[in-house]
């Protein structure tokens, strides 16, 4: 891997100027590397980030599909790394004009990373530098603890897709840990309102009482006030002492285990906490990218088209460019292409905004003709898509803007797969052309790991109790035992997972849809043995 030469770098700087002129905004410094085949082989599994920690699984082919279960997606593949400065990769076999187009694509990605709020938590950190420090730390630990470091990495990775990514987002900008509320605040805000659920008028009476005491004896007001409280509510003091403010709570399972595991608290195991933190931080780094794949690729495809077509360096290569662009952004007959769909959605939003259709007045119109001909020519399309780039994630984009017009314009449909007994084949057929169905299908294929929480009430030093919040899909059974094994190791005691199972009952007749029953079950992993009970 080596830096691009001066000549190419100069070309790319010119691209930056044009991009900025069009409205994109990104940091000045960027790094471009030429990548070779051997880099791909060696660095591939580490997402092209050479400073990422070494792990033996990177050397082995990981089975991603077993039978018909697609256990995707694994970490996205980077051609642009969101670091400071942003790093991107190129192939020196590509001609200059192609590298220019790719660079426009890259710039749009950088613009997206640096402006979309889902990436907010990454703006201050230098991931690559951090990764290097982390990698060295792990190497160091390996020399001391040998293969146990890899076990800890393995078990941490088995739960690294269940992170509190969204919970952590709004924290950015807030003070790290809010102070414990004062006794007064606790009494009025939490004890009376949430714990005892005392009616409003009683609360006002209490406030009045406090104010009265405060007026007569300001210094000892609090003490006097609370002596009465102690008589009325003897449990108040213990409740206050045991109160843990929500902000200091763990964000996800990994965080919880890191902070509270009896096994990790032991002096000789403390080093494991740093390893877990590293794995968790790495996973959190990739989390926003998983959730904005369609948005990101669509945005980048939109801009590389806009910018490259208006760049005079395209001359002579229009047809070649058209070919490559078609290859990247074509909608396939069957299958999903995030570049294609993303780009067309961005264009769709732009045109809607230009026509003034993103607006309540338009939505009130029911007449099809009026809707079709509605065009206020506001010219605010670009403004709208910049807002899109700032605020939207994949789910928001798909949920808000897939409508029947979009489906009809691009002839989209939902493909279903059914069994044809006589022929002994699976048939792929056009299942539906309705926007509602298409939207549901798209949303269903988005990245969404199961939501698993720690049940603090039932957790103690001897048992870690996890609850799976059922959202309509059960957990993939063959992996449950292995994952729980890792968690048991890290917790140091038995682990229980409460989840819901779906059992299908075969339909009596061909026409009836099969019925499903939902069963609550609990898996217990103790001493490396798993048991399952029905609840």
């Amino acid at each position: 891997m080596y830096l691009i030469d001066q000549h190419t770098k100069k070309i790319m700087e010119e691209c930056k100027e044009r991009a900025r002129a069009a409205g994109l905004s990104f940091d000045n410094e960027t790094l471009e590397y030429i990548v070779t085949n051997s880099d791909m082989i060696n660095l591939g599994p580490k997402n092209m980030i050479p400073t990422l920690y070494d792990y033996w699984v990177h050397d082995v082919e990981v089975l991603k599909e077993i039978g018909k279960y697609k256990l995707y997606p694994h970490n996205p593949y980077e051609t642009v790394i969101n670091s400071r400065p942003a790093i991107s990769f190129y192939n020196d076999n590509n001609p200059d004009w192609l590298n220019i187009m790719i660079f426009y694509h890259v710039l749009a990605h950088i613009d997206f990373f640096q402006n979309n709020i889902l990436f907010e938590n990454q703006w201050k950190d230098d991931f690559v530098g951090l990764a290097l420090a982390d990698k060295r730390l792990i190497e160091n630990l390996r020399s001391k603890h040998g293969r146990w470091v890899d076990y800890v990495i393995e078990f941490s990775r088995s739960i690294d897709n269940i992170t509190g990514y969204f919970r952590m987002l709004p924290r950015h900008g807030l003070i790290e840990e809010k102070q414990l509320p004062s006794k007064l605040n606790f009494y009025f805000d939490i004890f009376l309102q949430e714990i005892l659920k005392v009616p409003q008028n009683k609360i006002f009476k209490e406030i009045e009482r406090y104010n009265n005491i405060g007026q007569s004896n300001p210094e000892i007001a609090e003490a006097m006030f609370f002596s009465e409280v102690r008589v009325k509510y003897p449990e108040f003091q213990s409740k206050y002492d045991n109160y843990i403010p929500a902000e200091a709570e763990a964000m996800d399972i990994m965080d919880f285990i890191c902070r509270h595991s009896p096994f990790l608290k032991k002096e000789q195991n403390r080093w494991m906490q740093s390893v877990m933190t590293i794995v968790r931080n790495t996973s959190l780094y990739f989390a926003p990218q998983m959730r904005t794949k369609i948005m990101n690729e669509g945005w980048a495809s939109y801009w590389h088209d806009e910018l490259f077509r208006s760049d005079e360096r395209i001359s002579g290569h229009e047809v070649d460019y058209a070919r490559i662009n078609a290859g990247v952004t074509a909608i396939t007959r069957v299958g999903l292409n995030p570049y294609a769909i993303g780009m067309r959605l961005v264009q769709h939003v732009e045109s809607l905004a230009n026509k003034g259709k993103i607006n309540y007045d338009f939505q009130k119109i029911s007449d099809a003709d009026t809707r079709g001909n509605y065009n206020k020519e506001t010219g605010r399309g670009k403004e709208a898509i910049f807002k899109l780039r700032k605020n939207f994630s994949d789910f928001m984009l798909l949920n808000t803007f897939i409508d029947q017009d979009f489906i009809n314009d691009h002839d989209l449909f939902v493909v279903g797969k059914r069994v044809n007994e006589e022929k002994g084949v699976y048939e792929y057929y056009i299942k539906s052309k309705k926007a509602e169905d298409y939207k549901n299908m798209m949303i269903d294929s988005l990245y969404h790991p199961p939501l698993i929480k720690v049940n603090r009430g039932k957790t103690d030093d001897d048992c870690l109790y996890l609850t799976h919040v059922f959202e309509g899909k059960q957990i993939y059974k063959p992996y449950i035992a292995d994952t729980l094994l890792g968690i048991e190791f890290l917790w140091g005691a038995k682990v229980c997972l409460e989840t819901t199972e779906i059992v299908k009952e075969d339909a009596d007749t061909e026409d009836k849809a099969p019925a499903f029953t939902y069963r609550k079950v609990m898996y217990t992993m103790k001493d490396k043995k798993i048991t399952k009970t029905q609840l």
Partner: protein, 457 residues
């Protein structure tokens, strides 16, 4: 072919069949007819479906395809396997599995490569229960209900876990010879039993050096007897030593060139020669799991042989249903799928014929590995046993693996097992012939390796 199978059926029925046997034969015939019908129907191509997260910038723009090079992966194999072993000591389950890859290469050639694989277990959502149908998107013309493409339901014979895409028709196929590295993965070193040194094939790769040659003038070790003889000879010629006078050692002239040494030189090494026959039943009843289990086992044996015997093994492949035929390479052997009936003796007779015609027994150790699901249209197995008895004296070892179908009761022995056991051959000639049976549904990799051990221990 189709006529033969029904003719045979009628013949056997006339001779008289037990109820069970009739059931077996009719089921096989049923598979056969159904497959014939399926083959006749024209089918549109199975569509290539990609999901939202399948495409990435690298493949599309940079053009270098990210592929974990399996050969590179195998370089760290020794370490990985060491580590895997330690896992068991630490109390954790092993992680490395052997996966089979059908790697699409340029120009539509496909290679079967066997590589170490692993899985990364995590909590994932499982879509399979509520959704009978996978849904995906598409675009273009068409009305609701229109069919876009088809995909066969049963996996193509011989495809196991871990096979990727790549369903092109190719020209030449063979297992990549580097697959012999798989032999390393089988951490127990298997040994071919009863290996005798027959024939005089000179080894191409192994060399031995020994102090056997004699050389005048220089070398490693002075051969005293010969040196003295030579010196005397020279001195006789010179006239220093005569019959009458005798001689005194002081008068002997010692010519340096007369000193005879033993020198290190390359010896021809003779290696044992083997011929291994792989026989596989590819009849209708073998569809699905039994075939998968058998070809997996044969793949493992083949790779191990390649590794350990370093190309000193000649391998022959025989497929059989009601008739037997030899095929030229492993890939054809692996992939062929027919749905005929089953006559085991046909294969044995073919092999016996080959051995006789080519006089293989003279210079080679002969091994036979036969994989079947246990069904045989010939209930008594007369002809099969006759063929076995004819070959047995020439064989070093014969191993028969029975991978039972889903519908065969696990405790009842199958036809082949029954007639083999009844003949007493398995007890009398334990050193020469072995039988192993297991259920194909539950054939894990470990069970298959256990089976191999049983056959060649």
């Amino acid at each position: 072919m189709s006529e033969n199978i029904f003719k045979l059926y009628k013949q056997l029925k006339k001779k008289g069949l037990s109820h069970d046997q009739l059931e077996i034969i009719e089921r096989e015939l049923d598979c056969y007819t159904r497959k014939k019908e399926r083959d006749k129907a024209t089918k549109p191509e199975a569509p290539q479906i990609s999901g939202v997260y399948d495409k990435n910038d690298f493949e599309l723009f940079i053009g270098i395809i990210k592929n974990t090079d399996p050969f590179l992966a195998m370089q760290t194999l020794e370490d990985l396997l060491e580590r895997d072993k330690k896992r068991e000591e630490d109390g954790f389950p092993k992680r490395i599995k052997i996966g089979k890859f059908i790697k699409p290469e340029k120009g539509n050639k496909e290679k079967i490569v066997v590589v170490p694989t692993t899985t990364e277990p995590k909590f994932y959502h499982d879509n399979s229960i509520t959704e009978d149908e996978d849904e995906t998107g598409g675009s273009g013309e068409g009305e609701e209900g229109e069919v876009l493409g088809e995909q066969p339901m049963e996996p193509t014979e011989g495809e196991g876990e871990g096979t990727g895409a790549g369903q092109g028709e190719g020209a030449e196929h063979d297992i990549s010879s580097d697959a012999f590295d798989l032999g390393k993965i089988l951490t127990e070193k298997f040994q071919l039993p009863n290996l005798k040194t027959k024939g005089k094939k000179v080894s191409q790769t192994k060399f031995q050096y020994d102090l056997t040659d004699k050389n005048r003038g220089f070398g490693q070790l002075l051969d005293k007897k010969d040196t003295i003889k030579k010196i005397l000879e020279t001195n006789i010629l010179l006239g220093n030593v005569t019959e009458e006078n005798g001689f005194s050692t002081e008068n002997l002239v010692v010519n340096p060139h007369d000193k005879i040494y033993r020198i290190m030189s390359r010896e021809k090494d003779f290696e044992a020669q083997c011929v291994v026959f792989f026989i596989r039943d590819y009849s209708g009843s073998m569809q699905g799991k039994p075939t998968e289990a058998i070809v997996s086992q044969h793949l493992l044996i083949y790779s191990w042989l390649m590794y350990q015997y370093q190309n000193n093994v000649q391998v022959r492949f025989v497929l059989h249903d009601t008739e037997a035929k030899e095929v030229k390479d492993f890939y054809t052997y692996y992939k062929s799928a027919v749905a005929g009936g089953t006559s085991v003796f046909a294969a044995y007779e073919l092999v016996a014929g080959i051995i006789e015609k080519e006089q293989l027994a003279r210079e080679n150790n002969i091994y036979i590995f036969h994989g079947t699901d246990g069904d045989d249209w010939e209930e008594t197995g007369e002809k099969a046993l006759a063929a076995i008895n004819k070959m047995l004296p020439d064989l070093s070892r014969m191993g028969i693996t029975v991978a039972k179908n889903a519908w065969t009761a696990l405790d009842k022995p199958t036809t082949v097992e029954t007639y083999l056991m009844d003949s007493g051959l398995l007890k009398e000639k334990k050193e020469l012939i072995r039988l192993d049976a297991f259920s194909a549904e539950e054939a894990s990799e470990n069970r298959i390796i256990e089976g191999i051990k049983k056959l060649i221990s």
